[in-house]
Symmetry: D2
Subunit: 304 residues, 4 copies
């Protein structure tokens, strides 16, 4: 159960079969620095290119195809007092005819005050001078090398994880990924200080960070899509366009989970899900959208 520190020099814009930067044992904890979505580090120096340069990959000993990799997000520390966002809603989240009146988007700076826990625009328009948002850090992009030897742009996501941009991926959460290559090859980066559902301006508050995570191999656990747990809920993630399909993947994965782990058949699992499921629209901006299907642990009381 060793603890490691890692600061990247060469970051990756694809999630794929790259050479590991560090080999760790199952159960080890790593504190890793991450650059922001455009490659700027803690000092505001650009050390990598867009999109979403990744720290990693980390080789986890013992991980083999057919296993799952369990990542526990222990901490996300904002290490830079500034972040940035785009400044206008993404054209794909409003009625097509409404887009004609939109200005071209620009990058906007934010000030991140971890003391007060609030972020505010560095140069707000008059209407927003007294307005700020609560800091709720999350990991935008993380996952493991996909099957077939693919190398996928960090702009998108799939069964292997990737750029899911889900505000539920904050400190305390456990996430499982299906392993496709020996060592799993885990990547992470693209931390946001805050983000709406849907990532509807195309960004959260993008910033540099230090993430502390523990990686554990779950031998022989076959899963189809990322799964997760927090204090009160279990959840699954589906990544695809359109939203309907992302929701189908997440729902099917939850159905499989309840049938396998709770001994329910299709009908019993449907009863449980049909009165209890909650959905989050994680992102509706990236090449693949992401939907979370959640069930509270309380709703599962009385099963098994």
């Amino acid at each position: 159960m060793a603890a490691h520190r890692f600061t990247p020099t060469l970051l990756h814009n694809t999630i794929g079969p790259h050479s590991p930067v560090l080999t760790i044992a199952s159960g080890d904890t790593v504190t890793a620095a991450t650059a922001d979505a455009h490659g700027f580090d803690v000092n505001g120096v650009q050390i990598a290119d867009r999109p979403n340069p990744m720290t990693g990959p980390f080789f986890i000993e013992g991980a083999e195809p057919g296993d799952a990799l369990l990542i526990t997000i222990r901490d996300i520390r904002m290490t830079r007092p500034t972040g940035w966002t785009f400044d206008v809603l993404s054209p794909n989240v409003v009625d097509p005819a409404a887009v004609i009146r939109f200005p071209a988007r620009t990058k906007t700076e934010w000030l991140i005050d971890t003391g007060t826990g609030r972020a505010r625009l560095a140069a707000p328009p008059p209407s927003l001078v007294n307005w700020s948002v609560s800091i709720e850090p999350m990991i935008g992009c993380f996952g493991v090398a996909p099957e077939l030897g693919q190398a996928m742009s960090t702009a998108t996501s799939g069964r292997y994880g990737g750029n899911m941009d889900y505000r539920g991926f904050g400190p305390g959460v456990e996430v499982m990924f299906p392993v496709s290559v020996p060592g799993a090859l885990f990547f992470l980066g693209d931390v946001h200080a805050c983000q709406s559902d849907g990532e509807i301006v195309g960004t959260g508050i993008e910033t540099a960070a230090e993430v502390t995570f523990t990686a554990r191999v779950l031998k022989g656990l076959k899963i189809g899509w990322p799964r997760g747990m927090n204090e009160s809920e279990i959840f699954t993630i589906g990544n695809a366009r359109p939203l309907d399909q992302a929701l189908q993947h997440a729902t099917t994965e939850m159905l499989d989970w309840l049938m396998t782990d709770y001994g329910l058949d299709e009908v019993a699992a449907s009863h449980v899900m049909g009165q209890n499921v909650r959905y989050d629209v994680a992102n509706v901006f990236n090449p693949a959208y992401s939907v979370a299907c959640r069930v509270s642990k309380e709703a599962l009381a009385g099963l098994r």
Copy 2:
């Protein structure tokens, strides 16, 4: 500010320009009985046909095209100790290939215990004998006569409201509909004792009820889609297929709301929404899906 009681005899399967059953003043309160989605009343007697037979319409004096109708849901009382659901996930919410293994759906009875606040299956399979759900009543279908003299099936929804099946439509919520005809012609019905996000088995726990609501005319308030407020949030509803389009309608309506009422331009409104919006997948089953776009009142602090 009169109070009325109303028990329907002739229910409607379309929302349209039907003859009013009661004329009320703006500000009046009505307690109205509703049948379940297949037309069964408080006594389990079928008094109307599917789909979703409506109580009403109520003619609200002074309502004209170009106004909004504000409905405050004061109370929803379960009046029958039984409800029903379908028993298998709807084929459209899971991966298409997973549907091949599904059994045909059947109607399943539930017992609703308003004393304990729990509902349970009348004849549970062994895996669910110790399992129940919390009662959280909501209105599945309500709205006003649409434009153009249309009469729309109560299976679907649109700008006028309709079968939105949103679990957020519970007691204490205020909802606004755009008025298209004199008197607005307000309909309601299809109460659920409980429902997941998405209505993913195709039903909530369908039952008969008594709903108490207050109707008020908001003169000259032009809105494009249903809007609402609860204790902590404001929200908008978009109704369309696919989910992407329902989300676009809801997001555009929220953008218009923030720009009109909070004096924000596109960029300022985008900043507010881009870090604060929450989405609910209300239903992903009906001919039109429904998505809610929510913003907390706290997130609007400091504006205006």
Copy 3:
């Protein structure tokens, strides 16, 4: 087998249970005048409002719910030398980000020369002075009263037909609609002198016309969606958003057709369709999109 002439005075903006304007026998032929999509008649006089005012309904004796109504389009005559279109691609048919550069759309006049069979812009920009299009007239909106007593805007479409805007609906084509009310109540209008696939500027060349059609009742023929035949093909139409769903409806209806009329099971019908189906994107603009699923008669040779 009587022949009728009909010129409308009161046109309808919904397809629903309106009072018949003419009662005809099965097998009768009608020549009916139609106004353009904004209600302008042969003389350019506005006699009705948008959207797509309908001529009709025609009550066909003997038609009952559960039958199909077969309409043979015998002739479509352009009766006005002018038509109009919108002048810029609809925002929903291009990449969302491309919409920002689009000008607002305006109505543009065209000159229709039935002598040469060509239509040209009345006031072309320099780049189009030598450019014209071939006239290929079609019916944009036609169908029968839908089920449940619904009255549907003529902007949209469904199982009952409606605003399908399919360029395949020209002279010589036979189209079947599922009958939901006694007499079927057949409506028609919205003739185009020409149109692309998809109706991607939101219009064809909209004009007034005279349409000659024969109506015949097919007793006991249950169909789910409009079906049609021309010289070389049979086809089905699905109407829904998004395109994927419209395609699903059309494909399922073709599958049912081949299984019922050609004695094929799912596998045999899949073989026939899997190597032979052709799709047309009829419209990708209206509230419901329309997709045609076509199979050539030649591809069916050797069956039965």
Copy 4:
């Protein structure tokens, strides 16, 4: 203008930055053998794994990022007298509720008779004993290495081409791909003896073949998506889910083409497209669907 012959030994299941198997000059012609979608060669020996193993990549001298690669398909020869298909419609192309009655799909053998130009089932059910289809060979999957160093599964497609499964990719067609890496790195395979629009059983008639193509570098021609030309038409291809988005990409690329090469502004190009565009649903089965947007050369007469 050399001519090469190439028979692969090591095939690829991703399109990416693999080592070239042959370096050719711009203008050279290659005759290359291809295995079928599951890796079976001309002799029915499995020489590679699924999905769609690729022959190549070919390094074209002089090709640089920012150029286009023009591939002329000169010939596609069926080299094996057998092919195979799946035997039931893909669940995603029919109404979700219809899937419940479908049998599980199996692989089915076909006999390909290049003498008669017909293909027939090797063991037809009674209903299909007298039925056959016309051979119209096409390339299912071809394209160039994508940007960012990505390696994409040959099951899917994108701006770089890939598994587009368009029956329009037959002999005589010219296709352009946007070059992202030096030498372009061109791959091809997955030949079909025949296929419907949409590839709705999930396959065409999959077989081994020899393809003869000429590769030419178009220096400085920036394109966003694959473009093509045949005797009578120009066309563009969009690859994405859902169909709506694939259609948007293809339509936007055609708009750009007409504006750049024909000197039209948005309005003039919209007039030309709005009355003339044709769409093909190339595939509605793969992870990315493909739509072709076509305009006949005749419709462009009088421009420029």
